[in-house]
């Protein structure tokens, strides 16, 4: 599968501070990769390097085969910054028009209408940004990132200001993008969000990749729990494969079985473990 984003041994130093220490990661076309890590782990720096906003101290990053920051790379990506702002005097439609022109795609009103509908802002087309709620501005930010039909989307905390319904909408949108073959690197603190939508997860801590893989690969078995007449019986060492035998034995012993749960560590637990405990 073609790579939408490839980072090889990326390092970034700010004076004596090492923000990234040789990070490598890949995002394939149509793949949704979650980037997790505590504050200061280097997530936003990595995303900014991919956008060409920050220059790496060492290593290289390619966007759809083009060096990060080159015009070809910029044409291929859409970006939503963590702390972004649009000028308050512009309307939603004007923001998208400006970005269409900068993307060299021409100011097509039909596309703008479609983008605003996609993020639930069809009714706010002519509303100035300064009159929008934070959530609406974040939706507009997502629409802006989609201008120019990017092949790679770099989203830095795209749902931080959204309510639960808004987050569900964004999850649906990300699913659509994945189906359309767009690679997405999602930088988020919302672990449930990442667990729900991402194909793979990369955990950064102190500028290093400390864990990477599919959410189910990263989690470890934590035993089996069975609900019976007298309460819940725990089998901490048991695995999923042992469930039929456990149930058979309980039934043979005259117990009524009401429910069985195969336990695994959650992404949150994996994250806390990988990123260094409670400080993360």
């Amino acid at each position: 599968m073609a790579l939408a984003l490839a980072a090889h041994g990326v390092e970034k130093r700010y004076g004596a501070v090492e923000a990234l220490r040789g990070v490598s990661l890949e995002v394939a076309a149509g793949e949704l990769v979650g980037l997790l890590g505590p504050n200061g782990a280097g997530k936003s720096t990595l995303v900014k390097i991919a956008c060409g906003l920050v220059h790496p101290s060492a290593g290289r990053v390619e966007v759809c085969g083009a060096p990060a920051g080159s015009p070809r790379a910029r044409r291929a990506l859409g970006y939503l910054a963590e702390l972004f702002r649009f000028p308050g005097w512009m309307t939603a439609d004007e923001v998208l028009t400006l970005h269409q022109r900068l993307a060299g795609k021409g100011a097509d009103a039909g596309t703008r209408k479609e983008l605003l509908e996609r993020v639930g802002l069809a009714e706010a087309r002519t509303r100035p940004v300064e009159e929008m709620s934070k959530g609406m501005q974040q939706r507009l930010g997502i629409a802006q990132a989609l201008v120019g039909s990017p092949r790679l989307l770099l989203l830095d905390e795209p749902t931080s200001a959204l309510d639960p319904a808004g987050r569900r909408d964004v999850r649906g949108l990300l699913d659509d993008l994945r189906r359309a073959g767009i690679g997405v690197l999602l930088n988020s603190h919302l672990l449930t969000e990442v667990e729900l939508v991402c194909d793979r997860v990369v955990i950064l801590s102190r500028g290093d990749v400390v864990a990477a893989g599919r959410p189910d690969e990263l989690s470890r078995p934590r035993g089996v729990e069975v609900d019976v007449d007298g309460g819940t019986r725990a089998y901490p060492a048991a695995t999923r494969d042992e469930v039929p035998a456990i149930v058979r034995d309980l039934v043979a012993a005259g117990e009524d079985v009401y429910g069985v749960r195969v336990l695994a560590t959650s992404l949150e637990e994996v994250y806390l473990e990988a990123a260094g405990g409670e400080d993360a």
């Binding site: 900014k48 956008c51 060409g52 906003l53 920050v54 220059h55 015009p71 070809r72 910029r74 044409r75 990506l77 970006y79 939503l80 910054a81 702390l83 972004f84 702002r85 649009f86 000028p87 005097w89 512009m90 004007e94 400006l98 970005h99 022109r101 900068l102 993307a103 060299g104 100011a107 930010g141 802006q144 120019g148």
Partner: protein, 284 residues
């Protein structure tokens, strides 16, 4: 529409729709209103004491002095506008988070900076030309005087403000919004002070002060453009009127040599190169 036009147009729209433009507009209307009142009164008072033979010279002296003052006021107001339009163009906008979504688009950083400059320069040029033309029109209407040269001084005044735009954009790459605003205003003051020292040097025949004025003119050539424009307003005025005129704001008005204009071209190129290089290297 190219990306350059889009950013330049965006700068124009921003200038017109932000509150700062309204403030500049109100200040300008107030200035022009008061200027009209002052010019009207000044001509009335001056002509009351003149007999027929002095009439023409009084008109020239009052008209030229007042338009010279209006030229300075226009330079100042244009500078305020230029600074407000550009003071936060790079670092300030990056800190606010408005720059990043724009520069990740396939428009080079140098092109982006050039477009911001063109947009701001267009607004400032229109503003300066408009205000100075209005001031000249007021002097003509109220006192019947028109400068010896009009187009060249107007363009030089606009060029002086555009030069300050370029300096402010360069400053915005390195400095935060407030620091850049203060720095450019201080440069403006330094330019004026340098010019003033040069004038004093001419009057006192002090080589040191003349040298200070000359060096300042090269370091901050907007002042030299202003002086040349001022000089051109009465370039063909001689005799007693010229003597009176030189006692006013035209006292030290210096004609710029051809070398200065060539230097200004090089200067703008150097400012653009410095701004482009620094912006390209900057982490956002």
């Amino acid at each position: 529409m190219t990306a350059v036009t889009a950013v330049a147009l965006h700068t124009l729209q921003e200038a017109l729709r932000r509150r700062v433009f309204l403030v500049v507009l109100v200040l300008t209307v107030a200035f022009l209103g008061l200027f009209w009142l002052g010019v009207d009164r000044a001509f009335d008072e001056a002509l009351r004491f003149a007999d027929g033979s002095e009439l023409l010279e009084i008109e020239v002296a009052v008209g030229a002095t007042l338009l010279g003052l209006a030229m300075f006021a226009t330079l100042f107001l244009g500078t305020v506008l230029a600074i407000f339009l550009t003071l936060g163009a790079v670092r300030g906008d990056a800190e606010r988070g408005t720059l990043q979504p724009l520069v990740v688009r396939p428009i080079g950083r140098s092109t982006f900076l050039l477009a911001r400059f063109l947009g701001a320069a267009a607004v400032c040029t229109l503003y300066v030309v408009g205000v100075f033309t209005a001031a000249a029109g007021i002097v003509r209407t109220a006192g019947g005087w028109w400068p010896d040269e009009f187009f060249a001084p107007t363009l030089e005044l606009a060029a002086a403000v555009v030069l300050l735009c370029a300096l402010s954009l360069l400053g915005s790459v390195f400095l935060s919004t407030t620091a850049n605003g203060i720095a450019v205003f201080m440069l403006f003051g330094a330019g004026l002070t340098g010019g003033l020292l040069g004038q004093i040097g001419e009057a006192m025949n002090s080589e040191t002060l003349i040298d200070v004025g000359r060096r300042t003119a090269y370091a901050l050539p907007f002042e030299a453009l202003y002086q040349d424009g001022l000089h051109r307003l009465t370039s063909e005025t001689f005799g007693a009127a010229a003597f009176v005129v030189r006692l006013g704001p035209f006292g030290g008005a210096e004609a710029a040599g051809g070398g200065l204009f060539a230097w200004i071209v090089v200067y703008v190129g150097l400012v653009a190169l410095a701004a482009g290089t620094a912006f390209a290297r900057r982490d956002l």
